[in-house]
């Protein structure tokens, strides 16, 4: 049974409980007249892969052991403007051509003659992939070392700051790939795409990697319609708050009993508990008629084992995969309903980590035959992990087509979220009309960042592509736009502005 949020029921359900008056006040939904526009939402979806394969030009592939020369697989074709061609990676967006725009031929600057951190140009990439690319891509701020750290606030958090206090959740930061998967190694920073004000290590925002917990965190505050259920809900909510209160009551005494370094650690911990308590106290406002608790996703899929980070022979079935497909779909469902219910207005979904070592085979197998070509389905059975596929890890399946297939999988989650928002009415239009959805892969396909000389490389911040969907702020999608080597952050700024951002810069990039 879908549980719709109904203010009358909320009030009735809470009435029998021992609820203090301040709570009643915060339960009231913000007053919004029918003439008032719905809030603008902003989400960024990230794919930890590049746009092609090493050393394979855009029309070259090797599929099932056969070399193939064929266009249409690189994400950005050369047809610009409206009615542009849907390439292989974009196929999940079929039927939504007028709902998104593609910005291609974007580039992050770097110093081709120096690998010195001090020589990196503004908004540029330190010449060491992968770490060097993350900060300029997501925060428009230059990187000066190979570390995975954004040196400025990221776009989603700019929007989160803009809407601070307006929604129960300041932002929704989630990640579908729960484990790094390479034997003996750890994420070491590859798992962050959201950073708060100022950037840097202390500003990074840990993503929730458990769909089960994310679901609970967003929707356990909804009051059921049924009186009996509502009474149970009320009992459960009071229990949760009492438990958190018990912990929080110890704060002052505990914090004052330790040294300053430990005080900082514990204060941060207690701050987060207090924030959770506040979220439990707040009742989700009514955003639209479409707001309903989505189905419980149940227990998370099991987390896959490690492999050696190699190609088709070493990344065996069963390793390196935790059903990221299901996880990404659940997170898309949660972002959708969080937007519909106005639980948050800023979200980031890291589908796969930077330099993702997720096993590509289950993904590729799930794609089936490649629509629109006469090629055999064997193309899909690419072996190796996502990262190694770009580096030709599978001797029989390399180059543009395998990369395009995996990019298509990432974009399928973007398309799924887009479609759900598009089909959810809001005001005179849809929720998508009041949203900006960004999709960005980790890398482009071009000049190798490290050596500044090899062409057609995955470790490249050239020929980058960003997709932008939605119509918030009057954005008018439906085009393929040649970025002419503009910084990808310029696209993020446009998206942020459409979502209500008044400035014209992100980090060191300005429009």
């Amino acid at each position: 049974m879908a549980m719709k949020l109904n203010r009358r029921v909320v009030l009735r359900g809470m009435a029998g409980a021992a609820v203090s008056l301040p709570l009643l006040e915060c339960m009231l939904p913000p007053k919004r007249s029918s003439a008032q526009a719905a809030p603008a939402r902003y989400a960024i979806l990230f794919a930890g892969q590049a746009l092609g394969g090493d050393n394979y030009p855009k029309n070259q592939s090797r599929v099932a052991g056969q070399n193939i020369t064929e266009g249409g697989h690189f994400v950005a074709d050369t047809s610009y403007g409206r009615g542009f061609a849907l390439t292989t990676p974009l196929l999940p967006l079929q039927g939504m051509e007028n709902d998104f725009s593609m910005f291609s031929n974007l580039a992050i600057p770097f110093n081709a003659s120096s690998a010195d951190g001090a020589a990196v140009p503004p908004a540029g990439a330190y010449r060491d992939f992968h770490g060097g690319g993350s900060s300029p891509l997501l925060s428009g701020t230059r990187s000066t070392s190979p570390e995975y750290v954004c040196n400025g606030i990221t776009s989603d958090q700019v929007i989160a700051e803009l809407n601070a206090g307006q929604t129960t959740h300041k932002s929704l930061v989630v990640r579908a790939q729960p484990a790094f998967y390479v034997s003996g190694y750890s994420f070491a920073g590859r798992q962050y795409i959201s950073y708060g004000p100022g950037g840097g290590r202390s500003a990074r925002i840990e993503a929730q990697a458990s769909p089960e917990v994310a679901y609970r965190s967003l929707f356990s505050g909804f009051v059921p319609d049924d009186g009996e259920d509502a009474a149970r809900f009320d009992f459960a909510l009071r229990k949760r708050r009492s438990v958190l209160d018990l912990v929080l009551e110890k704060r002052a005494k505990l914090v004052s009993s330790v040294g300053r370094a430990d005080q900082e650690r514990l204060e941060r911990h207690f701050d987060e508990i207090r924030d959770l308590e506040n979220r439990l106290s707040a009742i989700p406002p009514i955003a639209s008629e479409g707001c309903a608790v989505p189905p419980d996703p149940g227990a998370d899929p099991p987390i896959g084992g490690d492999h050696d980070g190699g190609g088709s022979a070493s990344v065996t079935p069963g390793s390196g995969y935790s059903d990221e497909h299901a996880r990404a779909r659940i997170f898309a469902d949660l972002i959708h309903m969080a937007f519909v219910c106005d639980l948050t207005r800023a979200a980031s979904l890291q589908i796969t980590a930077f330099q993702s070592h997720m096993n590509a085979r289950p993904i590729a197998d799930g794609l089936g035959t490649l629509p629109g070509t006469t090629r055999p389905s064997r193309w899909a059975s690419v072996g190796g992990d996502l990262h190694e596929v770009g580096h030709n890890g599978d001797p029989d399946n390399r180059g543009q087509i395998p990369s395009a297939g995996l990019l298509q999988w990432h974009i399928s989650h973007y398309a799924y979220l887009m479609d759900k928002l598009r089909n959810t009415p809001e005001g005179d239009g849809s929720v998508l009309d009041n949203s900006m959805l960004v999709f960005t892969p980790e890398a482009g396909h071009g000049l190798q960042l490290n050596d500044a000389s090899s062409q057609n490389q995955t470790h490249s911040v050239e020929n980058m592509v960003v997709l932008l969907a939605g119509r918030a702020g009057g954005f008018n999608p439906g085009e393929h736009i040649n970025g002419n080597r503009a910084h990808p952050a310029t696209v993020l700024i446009r998206a942020m502005q459409a979502a209500g951002y008044q400035g014209n810069s992100l980090g060191e990039v300005s429009l």
């Binding site: 050393n55 690998a115 010449r127 060491d128 770490g131 190979p146 570390e147 995975y148 729960p178 790094f180 390479v182 034997s183 003996g184 190694y185 750890s186 070491a188 920073g189 290590r201 925002i205 840990e206 993503a207 929730q208 458990s210 089960e212 917990v213 009474a231 009992f235 009071r238 229990k239 009492s242 438990v243 958190l244 912990v247 505990l254 009993s257 040294g259 370094a261 430990d262 650690r265 514990l266 941060r268 911990h269 701050d271 987060e272 924030d275 959770l276 490690d306 050696d308 190699g310 022979a313 070493s314 330099q355 580096h391 030709n392 890890g393 599978d394 001797p395 050596d451 090899s454 470790h459």
Partner: protein, 542 residues
């Protein structure tokens, strides 16, 4: 044939030398970075440490009988540097707190749903849902275990209002006495006093110096030796005040080392240290490797105390028939047991499949990675990170289309290239292990390439030449790397962070003590716990 070889014609551009390192694995350390307030020889700097996923799962197992490893499932993956307990990079987050709340509710619900587990938690039979006396009895027995310290009346009083949920007259819910028990358990699991090891102690004579109390000492001991909370006996020893004395700590440490939990912890320490904690082989093979390596660790530390260096030099190994076949060793008597390494070139842990599988790359052994493993984990040296202009994601290609692996690494050896300076530190070590494949089997030539005969000779530059695990181990032992580095790794594990340059004298002193004790690791660990400084700490400087 390696997939890397196929299609090399397309790789018209040779990728310059690469160390094959996956990338920056080390973030610059947070935490203590200035000179500590007190000489590390007297006391060591430390901070509040949040339990790792494994430690939290073990603690919940021992506290409430939880056996589903919920932290491994619901909390974000720990960073291994190489240990899972580096507190200097821990940072509380909304994701952590929401996951902990879900985890706590789940664990608490299971703890009271099961009759036996419930009975273990509650030492009385409640006469009614609102039986305050019984609830207090439960709190008196449970809270000290949850917080791992004695509790005050005030501590207990704070939980008593939860009884209102037990006795609330509410037709919609099935509440009873155990509702309050469940809530108390859920609250403690979210409490920083359970989640962190917070050490307050009492100020010592020197500013910044803290003398730990008995329970804080007990916690240090149990998380070091067991990766879990103290048991009743350790709590009792703390309560009796005996852990304040070196003799008292010694006695308890010896008892604790007899517990199976200590074995598991020693296995975990070695697996994280030597990088084989999650090797990519079939579950059966991994299990066989683990039995082999665990048997060696148990033997040289616990079962036949003596020189720990036998970990590296042992001339026999523990296998079953199938692992013996895997290695080409004779079958053990009785299906499982120790068989001689004689005539194999193997010795000790470096001859094990577990270690030989660690740090492989590109579907094959990586001489560079193995060299890095030996340099960083067994010699405790820093290997310079590859220059940024090198793409470490690509295996070395060497001369155009070179068939044999040794030739493909030629550029690493070319003194005229910029690669040789660093690669000469690591590659020759790895090439000395090349006769042993990714699963630890002996091989004469590159996989599938009989024409590529493996020479198998290796060198630790400026230390000596070797061929195979036995000779490499001997070099590491004879030149004082194996023992000193084992101590450094143990200290990083015990302290929850790498030692700093300010602690050099401390490290040297402890290494000398290990040597003076004839490398008896068990005695060394017990001495470490018995030492004065184990019962102290120094506040971190901000």
């Amino acid at each position: 044939m390696s997939s890397r070889l196929a299609g090399t014609a397309v790789l018209a551009l040779l990728l310059a030398c690469s160390t094959g390192q996956i990338g920056p694995d080390r973030e610059s350390a947070g935490g203590p970075d200035g000179p500590p307030a007190v000489d590390p020889l007297i006391a060591i700097q430390s901070g509040a440490r949040r339990l790792s996923q494994a430690e939290l799962d073990n603690t919940l197992r021992d506290l409430v009988g939880e056996d589903t490893a919920p932290a491994a499932r619901l909390l974000n993956e720990d960073e291994f540097r190489p240990f899972d307990n580096d507190y200097t990079i821990q940072q509380a987050s909304a994701a952590l707190i929401t996951s902990l709340e879900a985890l706590a509710e789940e664990v608490a619900a299971r703890a009271v749903a099961d009759g036996a587990r419930r009975a273990a938690l509650v030492p009385c039979t409640p006469s009614s849902a609102a039986d305050e006396a019984c609830f207090r009895q439960f709190l008196e027995s449970y809270l000290p275990r949850a917080f791992r310290r004695p509790v005050t009346g005030e501590d207990i009083d704070a939980y008593v209002p939860l009884l209102a949920y037990a006795s609330e007259d509410n037709p919609a819910v099935d509440n009873d006495f155990y509702t309050a028990v469940e809530l108390a358990v859920a609250a403690t699991i979210q409490d920083p006093e359970l989640l962190y090891r917070i050490e307050r102690g009492t100020p010592g004579d020197t500013p910044g110096l803290v003398e730990l109390d008995e329970y804080e000492i007990a916690n240090r001991m149990s998380y070091l030796l067991w990766a879990s909370m103290p048991d009743d006996q350790l709590f009792a020893a703390a309560g009796a005040g005996s852990l304040q004395s070196p003799q008292g700590r010694r006695a308890e440490a010896l008892r604790m080392l007899d517990d199976p939990k200590a074995r598991t912890q020693l296995h975990r320490f070695h697996a994280m240290w030597l990088g084989y904690r999650s090797i990519p082989h079939s579950p059966d093979l991994v299990a066989a490797f683990n039995r082999e390596t665990s048997a060696l660790i148990d033997r040289v530390i616990l079962d036949e105390p003596g020189s720990y260096l036998r970990l590296f030099t042992m001339d026999e190994t523990f296998v079953d028939d199938s692992l013996a076949d895997h290695y080409g060793l004779p079958h053990p008597a009785d299906g499982e047991g120790w068989v001689s390494y004689e005539g194999t070139g193997r010795a000790g842990i470096l001859g094990h499949g577990s270690l030989l599988a660690a740090f492989s790359k590109f579907e094959d052994t990586s001489p560079t990675q193995r060299g890095i493993l030996v340099r960083t984990r067994l010699m405790c040296e820093e290997v310079p990170r590859p220059p940024p202009t090198v793409d470490t994601d690509q295996p070395p290609q060497g001369a155009m289309d070179a068939l044999c692996k040794y030739e493909r690494y030629a550029e690493h050896r070319d003194q005229s290239s910029s690669c040789a300076a660093c690669h000469s530190l690591v590659d020759p070590i790895g090439f000395g292990l090349e006769n042993y494949d990714i699963a630890g089997r002996y091989r004469e030539h590159d996989d599938g390439l009989p024409e590529c005969v493996i020479d198998g000779s290796g060198e630790i530059v400026n230390v000596g030449s070797f061929a195979g695990p036995a000779e490499l181990s001997q070099l590491l032992v004879d030149n004082g790397y194996a023992d000193s580095c084992a101590v450094r790794q143990f200290l990083a594990f015990a302290l929850g962070r790498p030692t700093t340059s300010y602690e050099a004298a401390l490290v040297e002193e402890i290494i000398e003590a290990f040597r003076a004790g004839q490398h008896d690791f068990k005695a060394f660990v017990v001495d470490f716990i018995a030492s004065e400084r184990f019962a102290r700490r120094v506040e971190e400087r901000l």
